[in-house]
């Protein structure tokens, strides 16, 4: 008994000094409250798992839209292979299966000291008190030089209306016309995504008999950033003559009216379709609240054991918006799969803070995905991280973080129809694990 009391006492003192949430929950002796911002893979998963694992935890999920439209598989909506409904993920199951309170509205302000979030809704502002706040707002875009208007030249890097716009522009393309796209400077959402898009667009143009049409890929990076073997093979062999690839193409200016783009490697005037995908940063709620505190000022640094921000340990950032401490050259990728993975670590840590337990240190995160190369075959990518020492380029330990222990892509003979089938199995599974 004494041992137990001592343990509780120590934990309370320890927790109280770092987490505002514990004393509040204890004082009120009611179900602790977690508010989640963003209903993408990170937000949906953290809401579901907090309820599934946390019992009496009260969870509110805030999203500006009535459902989430997935970027996963969205390149196949661009080519017309899949319908928009296939990638539209509703929040109903989170409500009915898991008891998540879903609120449609836009998170506009955080009172980090009063522990409240202000949400702008159709019926006015609502102030939501929280013990823990989880921000999973995805990405926002860096401004482009020139005259950039995404309603004319879609990025389609957030799925929905942008996806439809790009799909319509692609289907209107004729032979001998040019589809120009950019690959943002890393880090950006979904490392293989732009290369996958180039492949499925080229495959579409080929299948539709648009002779002489071309996909021009302007990559801000020095080379293909994900699945280099599969995409090099795809660009040079599978889609030879349909894709032109330019590395080190730093964007200097964009003109959405004339669909023209100037880069350090190549200038294209009057493309038929300009799919400019800008460089990226954390979602607006993160940057506007001053939480984007990594050296680039674009992403929120987090504790890899809790995803708590350094300034406010009970304000967590998961998914694309966070910068997880990692070994140099082995960054944690921004992907829906990784957001789901981080969401579970975050949910577990929040529940532990309520029970007075320290965060688990024996943790792992991962990402896996499948990338269509044509409408008949796909490649895959897999990467894994374990909490522990992280190192600089010379191998010197620089601290603790998520250390990449494995990364790899499909071997050449694994880029096939089976992997394409696997892609749909994976998508169904991650959609279900996050939303059902």
């Amino acid at each position: 008994m004494n041992t137990i009391n001592r343990r509780h006492f120590l934990k309370l003192i320890g927790a109280a000094s770092t987490l505002a949430a514990v004393p509040r929950a204890v004082r009120a002796a009611v179900a602790p409250r977690v508010v989640v911002v963003g209903g993408g893979f990170g937000g949906a998963t953290v809401a579901k798992y907090l309820r599934m694992w946390g019992g009496d935890v009260h969870v509110t999920l805030v999203d500006a839209n009535p459902s989430h439209i997935s970027c996963i598989l969205s390149n196949l909506v661009v080519t017309g292979s899949l319908s928009m409904s296939r990638i539209t993920l509703g929040f109903d199951s989170l409500r009915t299966n898991h008891g998540v309170n879903v609120m449609q509205g836009r998170a506009v302000a955080i009172d980090a000291h009063g522990n409240t979030l202000t949400v702008s809704t159709s019926t006015g502002n609502q102030v939501l008190p929280y013990d823990h706040l989880v921000l999973s707002p995805g990405i926002d875009f860096m401004p482009a030089a020139g005259k950039w208007d995404p309603t004319r030249t879609p990025h389609a890097w957030q799925a929905g209306a942008q996806t439809t716009l790009l799909k319509n522009q692609l289907s209107a393309m004729r032979g001998n016309e040019t589809f120009v796209m950019t690959v943002p400077k890393a880090p950006y959402r979904c490392p293989p995504g732009p290369y996958e898009r180039a492949c499925v667009v080229a495959d579409y143009l080929k299948r539709k008999g648009r002779a002489g049409a071309k996909v021009i890929v302007l990559d801000a990076n020095p080379g293909i950033t994900a699945e280099p073997e599969a995409f090099n093979q795809a660009f040079k062999v599978t889609h030879a003559g349909w894709i032109e690839y330019y590395p080190n193409a730093t964007v200097q200016s964009v003109d959405s009216t004339t669909r023209s783009i100037v880069t350090s490697a190549k200038t294209v005037n009057k493309a038929r379709v300009l799919n400019y995908i800008p460089d990226q940063k954390a979602g607006a709620i993160v940057t506007s609240m001053g939480l984007a505190d990594d050296p680039t000022g674009r992403w929120a640094r987090v504790d890899p054991l809790t995803y708590g921000t350094l300034a406010h340990p009970n304000i967590h950032v998961i998914g694309d918006s966070c910068a997880v401490p990692a070994s140099v050259g082995k960054a944690v990728p921004k992907s829906g799969h990784m957001a789901n993975s981080e969401a579970k670590v975050c949910a577990d840590a929040i529940i532990r803070s309520f029970t007075g337990d320290a965060p688990d240190e024996d943790i792992a995160t991962s990402s896996a995905c499948f990338s269509p190369i044509t409408n008949k075959k796909a490649s895959w990518l897999s990467t894994n991280f374990i909490y522990g020492d992280i190192v600089d380029a010379a191998g010197n330990v620089i601290g603790k973080g998520m250390n990449r222990v494995d990364i790899g892509e499909a071997p050449a003979d694994g880029v096939d129809g089976d992997s394409l089938e696997d892609m749909f199995t994976w998508a169904e599974s991650i959609f279900s694990d996050s939303y059902i």
Partner: protein, 106 residues
């Protein structure tokens, strides 16, 4: 121990309230968090939808070890298995073997 027999009254009441508010919340089961990292491809608690159902499966540990230490990568699981320590694979396997297959996740 004596030191902890004499917390302030405020601390003691906090501790008592904490104990009173805790029954609904308990520390997570061993392996639960690690095993949840399988769910993106095998469904929540390994019970699908997705690839092979792994809920309630016996001897997953030895299968995972075989994948992890296979010298020639055959599939994506040969890579994923390399993402965990042997001890973590043991925790994952033990947790999943105790789950009911094909059932709900509540």
């Amino acid at each position: 121990m004596p030191i902890f027999h004499r917390p302030s009254l405020a601390c003691l009441s906090i501790a008592l309230l904490a104990a009173a508010s805790q029954p609904a919340l308990s520390a997570p089961a061993a392996g639960q968090l690690l095993a949840s990292q399988c769910a993106q491809c095998h469904g929540t608690n390994g019970a699908g939808p997705g690839f092979d159902s792994i809920a309630g499966k016996d001897d997953l540990y030895h299968e995972l070890l075989e994948m992890k230490y296979r010298s020639h990568i055959e599939g994506i699981m040969d890579r994923q298995a390399r993402g965990y320590t042997d001890y973590q694979l043991r925790l994952i396997s033990d947790y999943l073997s105790a789950q009911s297959g094909g059932g709900g996740d509540d």
